[in-house]
Amino acid sequence: MSLTIQQNQGLPNHIYTFLLLLGLLVGFIPAAYAQPAYTLSGRVTDAETGLPLAGATVFLQELQSAGAITDASGTYSFNARSGMYTLVAKYIGYEIQQEPVQLTKSIVVDVKLVASTYAVREVEVTAQRKPPITETAVMGQLELPLETIKTLPVLFGEVDILKAVQLLPGVQAAGEGGTGFYVRGGGADQNLVLLDKAIVYNPGHLFNFFSVFNSDAIDNTTLIKGNMPAHYGGRLSSVLDIGMKEGNLNDTEVSGGIGLISSRLSVQGPIKAEKSSFILSGRRTYADALFNPFLKNTDQGGVPYYFYDLNGKIIFILSESDKVYFSGYYGRDVGSLTLSDGRFDAEFSWGNASATAHWEHTFNDKLKADFSGILTNYNFQFDWDFGGFKTLVKTGVQDYSLHLDFDYQPSALHHLQYGVQYTYHTLKPRSGTAQNSEGDNFDTDKLRNKYGHETALYISDDVYLSDKLLFSLGLRNSYFNQVGPYTLYQFNENQQATDSTHYTSGENVATYSAWEPRVSVKYELSKTASVKAAFTKSAQYLHLVSNAYTTLPLDVWVPSSAVVEPQRATQYALGYFKSIKQNQYEGSVEIYYKDLKNQLEYRQGYAPGPSNRDLDYEFVSGNGKSYGIELFARKNYGKLQGWLGYTLSRTTRTFPDLNEGKMFPARYDRRHDLSVVGSYTYNDRWTFGGSFVYGTGEATTLPVRRYYIEGTVNYQYGSRNSFRMEPTHRLDLSATLQAKKWRNIESSWTFSIYNVYGRRNPFLYYIDNEGEAYGNTVKLQAKKTSIVPFPLPSVTWNFTWK
């Protein structure tokens, strides 16, 4: 492995260059294109709850080309020449509002929308009318309204954002039933999963069968496939940005649900009407209680296992121009087991915790700033006692971050975003300590926490060169600095440490930096059609390599270091976007090509196990490639809604130290991937949903020949990932019944069937063997393991009390 460390690339120097560029960009462009126009801006909120309405349309009746769509905080802003106009605000499920405005200077007009009387369903309050996909410059960005997610059929009746994300084109599920996902040929660790700006390092519960996102606590979800705006960074493949719900500013509300394996409860309401609110949500499984009867006669005798999530958020609207929120998440998987008549006794737990403090300040109608402080933590712990021999194994990540983000719209022609982000990472390797009853102590004393500073400066400008041409120019400069205490080892051919270099606390160990341009262009062919092109470079400084068939909670995050270089990616994308009938239908065709550098895999022959050697030394690095075409068609409104996504793609890897240096298909190379998703509102009471997925079989490595060692079968393997399992496909259906309102309680029943026709999708192929060669009793059999190979029905009852 080659090792390139950019020595002593001083940070101040770096910032200086960046600021210089920033100044050039900001100073130059407005001068060239500025035109006299006034800004009309404001905020659209729900008249009842006071919550912002994102995705509402605001425009001038007399000047249809002047208008905007509100952002996540409900604000809109656009420019128009002076005059008398009628301002119109529209949002699905709300009465249209009109207001006369006189534009002789830049003004602020806030709009409160009243919900339509017939729209009583709670979900529609959080539903977003999305901007048509033809309008934004960002490519490969898809929003998933929670309304849509809630109508999808799901495993065990648990509404799951990550499983909905898997149904989008370009996104693959990582294993049947799981919540992990791969985007455009990138690994599971290349997705930036954010919950109120905090990175979620392990988004799964119970070996990823369920995501950590409680649907009751979540507001909106945005997925960006690779062409991420400059304010996102640190991951190569995608951004999944999830916002926690804000509490109702006017009324107290209790909602919840009772499902097959878990129950949920949320309470929200004002602290001070219109000024501050809170929301608290909890979820806990009772799998322990549910499965115990089945396991009574087994050695285990029951399953003392459960998981839970807690989400909370409080907001304070301090003034017209200041808003503050504090939000937090805490979730854990907890279990224990006892084996061999009590000789083996273990307890384990893992989970994420995060806290975000966020302050939004509006300086004037042109300039806004967000300041956030974020703490995030993931840890895994396994404690066991084997006949008096006590062992503790743990691993984890802890981050402290500060973000300062600005949003500046100097004129109708520019929309700038710029800022600085800093994170201090502490990564705990998978370390262990043990002691026996005689007091002998053992530990992985060579495995120490690793520390890193990650800093990024970014700027982006959406430049409206003409009515038809929009340039989005972004640049991110990221910088990673591994610091001591750290010991770098040299190994001999026997993999034994022969020499070491020690770095003291805070001492610079390795420094990496990257310029990450994020450029996209949109050209409007007509009012309803556009073409977009994008070029993106990105760098990733934290890595997680899994060599199991699924990601596991004890997988370890490893930072870039003197041993492991950052992963890098370059992506090119081109797309055609079309919207029909005022965005009732939308469709797109996108092609992409992605070039990946310094991808990581475990070296040939690495076996997980207790080790006193950092995982850094167990990796080999190589390059990857992925290219494909993605088709997407969606019907957004009406009784029948849904989408169809199809991806044709190819993903390969080339590692000098794997597969004899020859190119091989990546495990997530999937030629065809199809999702069809639909929901149908039959009447006020019944809504039906369904989804069908099809994917080319996973690439896997299988034995081709056999031999005997000590009389038992051993295998000689074929080339890496050269074998294909059979294709996966599955149909899931659901029906939601809106129950009659009882006192103040609105409730609904959701019935769903997962895997309707009982498809046995392959999870794993292997060649089973038993018997002894010299006694001539050897038996060999190819086997397929499937997960949830039968139709699995479930029912969930959801309610809201106001």
Partner: protein, 309 residues
């Protein structure tokens, strides 16, 4: 311990199913497989076979055909080269037969040719293994050339053996075997162990037969030692696994091995234990043979005996 994850991940057990399938596998390229050992005071013994397609016939005939005959096999020690002769097992003196049975985990009755095929090995009467020596193996067969190196490490005997009662008082006829071992100061000491109960053959530990001092270097440790069992059993009796019985005469074969030799067994056992486990990691046995598969491994053996009362 090795079986633990299967139980922890109960949901997989509850919701997953396994079925037999028929798949077409490419034939792959034939490789030569070495299973060769040298231990102190014993001749080198090398078993040379070839790989066959996974689903090719299992029979005494095909087994007989998998032996590679007529290869040139040489072992070099201290600059002196010894050519190993190919012999059928029946032609060997009883003492050598005994060593083969122990080293290769063979049932004693196979030695008399009951299996319906003749067992061939390559060996030399002139060479006897010595502690602390390095042995280079070189094999030439047709256009294939294989090389490997191993050592017989310094002996690292056990300090002591004793037993403790079964955790359940109802099982008072079963005992847990404990050992105490003091590791030398140098890093990299590794052990492979076998146990023998009364007049049974020696069996290596079933799920894990090797240890390494990576975490205990220079320290001393006492830990339970699982009873070795024959490999390839359809199902292991979980109630009896690891335990010895009251009245058993237990013999432990405690063999010091070098690191590449350790890695071979460790990765082989890892591969076998995780084969078919949905939460396992695919793993490929790490051979120390250049140009082929299998192992060329030295053993520095000490024997320890305990009669359980």
């Amino acid at each position: 311990m090795k079986k633990l994850p299967l139980i922890v991940f109960f949901l997989f057990l509850l919701t997953s199913c396994e079925e037999d399938i028929t798949i077409d596998l490419p034939a792959g390229d034939e490789l030569l497989v070495v299973e060769g050992h040298i231990e102190q005071d014993a001749p080198p013994i090398v078993l040379l076979t070839r790989t066959v397609p996974v689903f090719s016939e299992v029979s005494a005939k095909s087994l007989a055909e998998s032996f590679v005959h007529g290869a040139e096999v040489k072992v070099t020690n201290n600059g002196k080269s010894y050519t190993l002769k190919e012999l059928p097992l029946g032609a060997l003196p009883d003492a050598v037969k005994q060593i083969v049975a122990i080293q290769f985990g063979l049932q004693p009755e196979l030695l008399s040719g009951v299996g319906g095929f003749e067992f061939y090995i390559y060996t030399s009467e002139e060479l006897r293994g010595e502690v602390g020596q390095q042995y280079n193996l070189e094999i030439n067969y047709q256009r294939k050339s294989l090389t490997a190196t191993t050592t017989i490490p310094q002996l690292n005997p056990l300090d002591s053996l004793w037993t403790a009662p079964h955790p359940s008082p109802a099982q008072d006829s079963l005992r847990i075997l404990y050992y105490r071992y003091s590791d030398p100061d140098t890093l990299g000491n590794s052990i492979r162990y076998f146990t023998k109960r009364n007049s049974e053959p020696f069996y290596p530990g079933l799920f894990g037969s090797v240890f390494n001092d990576e975490l205990i270097n220079g320290g001393s440790i006492s830990f339970p030692l699982d009873r070795g069992e024959p490999k390839g059993q359809a199902e292991v009796d979980e109630d009896l696994y690891s335990y010895f019985g009251k009245g058993d005469t237990v013999t432990v074969r405690w063999a010091a091995i070098d690191l590449p030799h350790y890695r071979f067994w460790s990765s082989l056992e890892n591969e076998q234990n995780s084969n078919g486990s949905p939460i396992g990691a695919p793993n490929i046995t790490q051979s120390n043979i250049k140009g082929g598969l299998g192992v060329w491994g030295g053993y520095g053996v000490t024997y320890h005996r305990l009669i359980i009362r």
